[in-house]
């Protein structure tokens, strides 16, 4: 049992709540179940789903954010992913892109490979993000708080880091059915909207 454990929200519900807030924001989703859940819950052209390269989602988001400073870029990440690409917290914290919102669904396990524990049960990823230099950092346990903080972060200067503790429950979802090159083109068009070529 976790010390704070009551009844934690599932990641699927948390992802659904954030997806409902989005309008034209560009979204990068890390590999594994988060991509599959986001694809099933609310697919949109502004969503880019990763199927591999674990740990790299925030660096892709940073690249998009630097290339399109006029657009808000959101990244859905997991605790295992953040731990694998932890150096990118430093790069984001140092560069401080105002238009980047990093949302971590922390279930404390590697959910796609059989729920082996990660280190996030004892290592405070939000405190690492704060020390790295993110402008806004929040850690939440309740869905209402997640929605409130996300609404704030989507409209105010970042970089922001929002960590929500979620349960290990995984929604019954299929794989992402979009061919990867087609996804690149779809996302690129969505990112380039409004730019004359």
């Amino acid at each position: 049992m976790r010390p704070e454990e009551g009844v934690l929200t599932s990641r699927g519900r948390a992802i659904g709540a954030i997806l409902n807030l989005l309008t034209d924001e560009l979204l990068i989703v890390c590999n594994g179940f988060p991509s599959r859940e986001a694809y099933t819950l609310r697919d949109r052209p502004e969503n880019f789903y990763m199927i591999g390269s674990m740990g790299v989602a925030p660096s892709i988001a940073l690249g998009v954010a630097l290339a399109r400073p006029d657009r808000t870029v959101v990244v859905f990440d997991g605790d295992g992913n953040v731990l694998m690409g932890m150096g990118t917290l430093a790069t984001i914290g140092a560069f401080k892109p105002k238009n980047l919102v990093h949302i971590v669904f922390d279930n404390e396990v590697y959910g796609s490979t059989g729920n082996q524990p990660t280190l996030s049960r004892t290592v405070r990823l939000d405190q690492i993000a704060k020390a790295a230099g993110y402008r806004r950092v929040e850690r939440v346990l309740e869905l209402d708080d997640l929605v409130y903080e996300a609404q704030t972060m989507l409209t105010q200067e970042g970089p922001s880091f929002l960590l929500m503790k979620v349960s290990e429950l995984t929604d019954d979802v299929g794989r992402v059915e979009i061919d990867p090159p087609a996804m690149t083109e779809r996302f690129r068009r969505a990112a380039m909207r409004g730019v004359s070529s």
Partner: protein, 162 residues
Amino acid sequence: MAIPAKQFVDRLQEIGFDFFTGVPDSTLGGIIATLIERRAYVPAVREDEAVGMAAGAFMGGKVPVVLMQNSGLGTSLNALISLNLIYRQPCLLLISWRGHDGKDAPEHLVMGQVNRSLLDLVRIPHRTVGDKTFEGDLQWAGDAFMKQRIPVALLITKGVVV
């Protein structure tokens, strides 16, 4: 005759490359100094992070370059094959060829021997920059980048660009 770094960067920018990230190496020192001077360089902490950033920048409309020592090819291999090659996200890899001709510190010798075979194995087209052929080499990289939409690599040996 060595190629002055400023001339090398001029040519890259003329071709259209406009987003530069990477992890430094001494062989690439002149190029990186020029890019920093022009406020055109985003330093990364790891090569796979640089490859990810380049992929994002490409989708945001940029034409990206990733600079790295050949050891970084090992670090970024998974991102290159499970992101760039699968999603068709091009970038130019400017890779310093440490351990070329077996003359370098011990940690560079194995990668120096195998870096070209490794690129062949994962089907990343590559050339080695020559001091007399560099304009053509850069043009080749730009053309291959746009046509194939996958990473292409230029290997740079010590002393060729200063």
